[in-house]
């Protein structure tokens, strides 16, 4: 299906395809402009148009009523392009006709017809009588050579006046401003306007915007600069908006990729060393929720809470680049609705999950160690335990608490304990292991606490502490915590292994000062302590 126009060619009425019309119109315009300076131009045109009508007429029959593009192309081939005609007929339009219509002074204007930005390239092209595309290309290429052309363009945009009137447009093209030229120019423009009016109905909104943006020109120079500045700002604002849109789009796309990765069960944290399990969102949710349904609910909630804003970002970015054409009806409302649903589900899951942490209980194990012969106590880390959970003994201490958590050995997760050294007045060294955990019920919390496994050993005056405690994987994460208090008699010299310092959070009694040597942390007496330690 094609749109057909009804046209009058040489006094006859023809039905002609839209594209065929454009082609023919272009051809006749070319002939007009080519022979514009030849005496009897109108007559030549009239004759040629009649010939076109005659030839086209011969192509029609009862079965064929519409002129097609092929018909027009054939006719044009038969009649010849203006250059061919001129070459044979030697009208001298290129050379001898010039003196009869001398050129006027050429002036630099911005050409608003067919402009992409401010018409600077078009104006320069008219001034130097070269193709506009070449000028644009030059501007573009020079952008890469330091970007000076951008500044040049902006400056010219602002200071070079725009060719508003027909006379100015003739001056721009270097044609003499006389009545016949103006008439001709106006006629040509009217043709363009006719064409525009047709497009107008198809693209009304755009046309209105263009008119309101640019066509309110003042005659005064200052007014012209004002309009030009306005144009500059409009376009610059558009470019900035597009850049922001692009940034939004890229960010959203990358985040979406990550998001989908997590949704598909991809690991959040990847650490192939030490055989650490991949941490997925699902496994995180399972740490908190005992009920698999709640765990799934939290997943849905996350999808909505994170996915909806990401889609909104994508949408906003597209809008900024493409403009309001890409607008989707009710997008905002639907997005907000889904996000609120996600929030509701999330709050519900959170409330349900929080119940698992309602109560805290502790289990305390006190061990009195046999008295030691010297007054120096060494506290050391049992690095051998790393090997037990499949981590090389050397370097294994680099594991932080988060990574340690994901090492599951014999159905147990692992966590670091807290160490505190406290002075006492008793003679014995005592170790108090305080295990804490939470649960939905007091007895569950107590059960979780007593499920925690922690061990240490003593060889003479050396205490070997395990670098981590373990709790059953099935318990989930219930804020299991272990605090080790080492109660030491007054005046005992405590030497902490440097490994210990890296492994534990060492809490110390206020009355003792830790002094740091290269590899060891020594504790030493402070002068003032007596009152406090009592």
């Amino acid at each position: 299906m094609k749109k057909t126009l009804t046209v009058n060619i040489g006094g006859s009425v023809f039905h002609i395809d839209d594209d065929a019309y454009e082609h023919l119109h272009q051809y006749l315009s070319n002939i007009r402009s080519h022979f514009a300076k030849v005496e009897g131009c109108e007559e030549i045109l009239w004759d040629i148009e009649n010939r076109v009508a005659e030839t086209l007429h011969a192509k029609l029959s009862d079965g064929k009523q519409v002129i097609t593009l092929t018909d027009v192309q054939e006719v044009i081939r038969q009649l010849g392009e203006p250059e061919q005609i001129d070459n044979e007929a030697d009208t001298g339009s290129a050379t001898s006709a010039k003196p009869s219509s001398p050129k006027g002074p050429r002036r630099l204007y911005r050409n608003p017809d067919g402009a992409i930005l401010g018409g600077v390239a078009g104006g320069l092209a008219a001034f130097f009588q070269i193709d506009t595309t070449l000028v644009r290309l030059a501007f573009l290429l020079l952008t890469f050579a330091g970007g000076a052309s951008i500044v040049t363009y902006l400056v010219m945009w602002i200071i070079v006046p725009r060719a508003n009137t027909t006379a100015e447009k003739l001056e721009m093209k270097g044609e003499r401003v006389n009545i016949s030229n103006i008439e001709k120019s106006i006629k040509e423009e009217l043709e363009d306007v006719k064409k525009n009016v047709k497009q107008f109905s198809a693209d009304a909104e755009k046309a209105i915007r263009q008119k309101s943006a640019g066509r309110t020109s003042g005659q005064a120079f200052a007014g012209g600069i004002g309009t030009a500045l306005g144009e500059v700002f409009t376009v610059v604002a558009k470019i900035i908006a597009a850049l922001i849109g692009l940034a939004l789009l890229f960010t959203a796309i990358f985040l979406l990729i990550g998001f989908i990765w997590v949704l598909a069960g991809g690991p959040i944290s990847i650490d192939s060393d030490f055989g650490i399990q991949a941490v997925t969102f699902q496994s995180l949710a399972n740490l908190i929720f005992t009920d698999i349904r709640l765990s799934n609910l939290s997943l849905v909630s996350m999808v909505l809470l994170t996915g909806v804003p990401l889609l909104a970002m994508l949408y906003a970015g597209t809008l900024l680049i493409v403009g309001s054409r890409a607008r989707i009806k009710y997008f905002g409302r639907v997005a907000l609705l889904f996000w609120l649903i996600g929030l509701g589900l999330g709050l519900f899951a959170l409330a349900s999950g929080t119940r698992n942490y309602m109560h805290q209980r502790s289990v305390v194990e006190e061990t009195a160690l046999p008295a030691i012969a010297t007054d120096t106590l060494y506290v050391d880390v049992n690095t051998q335990r790393y090997a037990d959970i499949g981590v090389p003994a050397t370097g294994g201490a680099d594991l932080d608490n988060w990574e340690l958590m994901w090492i599951i050995q014999n159905g147990h997760r692992h966590h670091r304990p807290l160490v505190r050294i406290v002075e006492t007045t008793t003679d014995n060294i005592e170790i108090i292991v305080n295990k804490k955990a939470r649960g939905a019920q007091p007895q569950i919390a107590r059960q979780n606490a007593s499920n925690i496994v922690y061990s240490f050993s003593q060889i003479e005056n050396r205490i070997l502490l395990d670098p981590f405690f373990a709790f059953p994987e099935a318990d989930g994460w219930r804020a299991q915590r272990v605090t080790i208090e080492i109660l030491v008699p007054e005046n005992t010299h405590v030497i902490l292994n440097h490994e210990l310092k890296e492994t534990f959070d060492v809490h110390r009694n206020k009355t003792r000062e830790l002094s740091l040597t290269i590899n060891k942390i020594h504790t030493s007496e402070v002068a003032q302590p007596a009152a406090e330690s009592l």
Binding site: I31, E39, G40, H57, Q78, E81, E88, A89
Partner: protein, 122 residues
């Protein structure tokens, strides 16, 4: 050497002569002329005839009258004016001299070529 261009240059000068010649014999409208001249391969593209007719008319060598046609716009029937006919006589004489000169130049022994005027100067 651009052969096509040379051929076009050769045709150029004689087109007006041919048109005048045809129209001095009988009245005709553009299509008749196109038909005749295309048959004798004087025209490559039809459009050429129109600027030529207009120029000859403006120079007063041709005149035309409107003739109503069936199923189309009125047609211009061109004919040569008395001035056109006298110009035609002049052109014809020049043409004959030219033909003679060219045929001499192209058939004589290359040794004698200096005897003949260069046709391009005519």
């Amino acid at each position: 050497m651009n052969l096509e261009n040379t051929k076009a240059q050769m045709r150029k000068g004689v087109l007006e002569f041919c048109i005048l010649s045809l129209l001095s014999a009988r009245e005709a409208y553009a299509n008749d002329l196109i038909q005749t001249m295309k048959e004798s391969r004087l025209l490559v593209v039809e459009g050429t005839i129109y600027p030529l007719l207009t120029r000859l008319k403006n120079d007063g060598l041709l005149t035309y009258r409107w003739v109503e046609s069936t199923g189309g716009p009125p047609r211009k029937y061109y004919s040569a004016t008395p001035e056109g006919i006298s110009i035609l006589e002049e052109l014809r004489q020049t043409w004959n001299e030219l033909v003679l000169a060219v045929s001499n130049a192209t058939t004589t022994n290359p040794n004698k070529e200096a005897q003949v005027d260069n046709p391009q100067n005519l």
